[in-house]
Point group: C2
Chain length 340, copies 2
Amino acid sequence: MAVTIKDVAAKAGCSVTTVSRILNNRGSISEKTRKKVHTAMEELNYFPNQLAVNLFRQRTYLVGLIVPDVSHAFYALEIKYIERVLHENGYRLLLCNAESDNMRETEYLNMLQSNKVDGIIIASHTLDLEAYSKVNLPIVALDRFLGPDIPTVSSDHEQGGRLAAQELIDNNCKKVIQITGFCGVPTPSHKRHTVFSDVMKKNGICCETLELPFNAFSFRDYITYADNIFRNHNHIDGIFAADNVACAMEKVAISRGLNVPGDLKIVGYDGIEASLMSYKTLTTVAQPVKQLALTTVVTLLEIISGESVFDKGTHIRLPVRLIRGETTVDTKSGNEVLQQ
Amino acid sequence: MAVTIKDVAAKAGCSVTTVSRILNNRGSISEKTRKKVHTAMEELNYFPNQLAVNLFRQRTYLVGLIVPDVSHAFYALEIKYIERVLHENGYRLLLCNAESDNMRETEYLNMLQSNKVDGIIIASHTLDLEAYSKVNLPIVALDRFLGPDIPTVSSDHEQGGRLAAQELIDNNCKKVIQITGFCGVPTPSHKRHTVFSDVMKKNGICCETLELPFNAFSFRDYITYADNIFRNHNHIDGIFAADNVACAMEKVAISRGLNVPGDLKIVGYDGIEASLMSYKTLTTVAQPVKQLALTTVVTLLEIISGESVFDKGTHIRLPVRLIRGETTVDTKSGNEVLQQ
DNA sequence: TTGAAAGCGCTAACAA
DNA sequence: TTGTTAGCGCTTTCAA
């Protein structure tokens, strides 16, 4: 059916070895045959069958990426940059959307091994650590802890929690709420909430920690949730939550007649576009999305090529930064903030 | 290195044929050997090498997806649903982010052919039609026209343009602006703007069509652009633009002291979360993201399996629907709209 | 119920 | 400079 190296060889009147040599730039070839082979390849619209190449080389230049939700703005960005760095290094991306489903994650793990990908990046965690350690393939965890043998790349969430807390303290908040994601398993990013709460306590500020329900995914869910919070909590003057949740909190707060930042200060987390889309641009702790992608891929490729200089269980933390919007201080106009 | 079928056969004391039979549920096997083989596979943690299987079968169960921008909310959603449907059908997703770069798109096209994917979904279009027709593989175009032999799946954008226009007309707009994406090549989605402009003209309403610059990607760019529009255009009372652009327009309008929808009505397009995140929830024409994904994948799989019932050049149009938010009529409260 | 052997398309010794 | 051949890990005819 498809054109093979044999067809090219036949058409060019030489052996498959010669064609293979030309394909891979190996050995010496006379200009004449080189030309003949090239013409043959073009005329037949020949593409080498990577399957065969890979089978021989025991290498696919394929990397699997498992995320919990492709459509979440943060992961969507992460995927974009990961794919970009992989592409620059000659690798391709096999994308797996685990959807927080442990059956799916297991399937994906098996599938990736069967498909002989060169490595896996995992940004999901619904399985026992044993399941990950059994995988006999280079793995890097993105913002997860997957076991003592698997390196983790994440933002410096402790710094993030500290920055957020300080921003609210500096702006005189006395009764704050922080909203965490669903805490199924411990992840690096949960640390920001521990730190946040610690700093608040140390400063004698009342801090309540609430957890998003495990089935709250969409912005609509966040609005419902935000509505509940305001119904059940009075006189809150500070909020710390992921950007999209913070955006929902802001929207509901304003619809209830609260003044932001006058009555209520808000600090988001992530630095995704949601922080810009809200009525008042969010003050937010921005994660270094691009750097995270770069570091994750580079770490993985080093393991693949065997030149890894890290201990296996390293945790690489990348610095975050606070971007001051309009939800904590009341000085700048909206446009100033956006143009900055 | 890796465990192969030979190792399993050796350990189980049988031939590779037998192991293969068990793997594929073919022929009849004695309960005794079946058990022995299963134990061997478990003890060795054996995974069949898909590369070898694929090479033999001439089939990879891999589908390539080329999008212009993974991180755009609309594509991110599309990717999520496409991956889901593929997964349900035993296929995996090779994700390619063309980034509106024709070099990259060419590379991807070649790569996908070399990697013997079973089919390709293309939601990007930076190349000549010839480049697509030369690809000797099942292709479906998502919201693009890629040539007479390639089926297109898209929303019914003409209906979308009509709905948007009618909504603004019904709410007494007299001077409207619509903002189109960058018009490098004609795509199905541009039709909404042609129709919109036609309907406006027929109703004697002043309608100006502006084009986003090709290098405007981020929300920040949209804000700058929106700012320019308001600087250079007076007394606009209606706007039609993609959700994220519409969101930026709303934000800038409000910061300039305009009342929405009092002074200015806005209709978005897409139905992504941006339409909910803005201060006033956008009235928007929602595309059937899930249906688009489903139809695209199903169409592709039908072509792959050879049971396609369509003409090759079919254009499947899926209906859109208007979701009325707070930017065209002033009745509902914000929360009502969000809870609806 | 089982096994030997050919072959999927390619690469790399080894030979000439 | 070129060709012959074995083999990557698997499936499947054919034979026993």
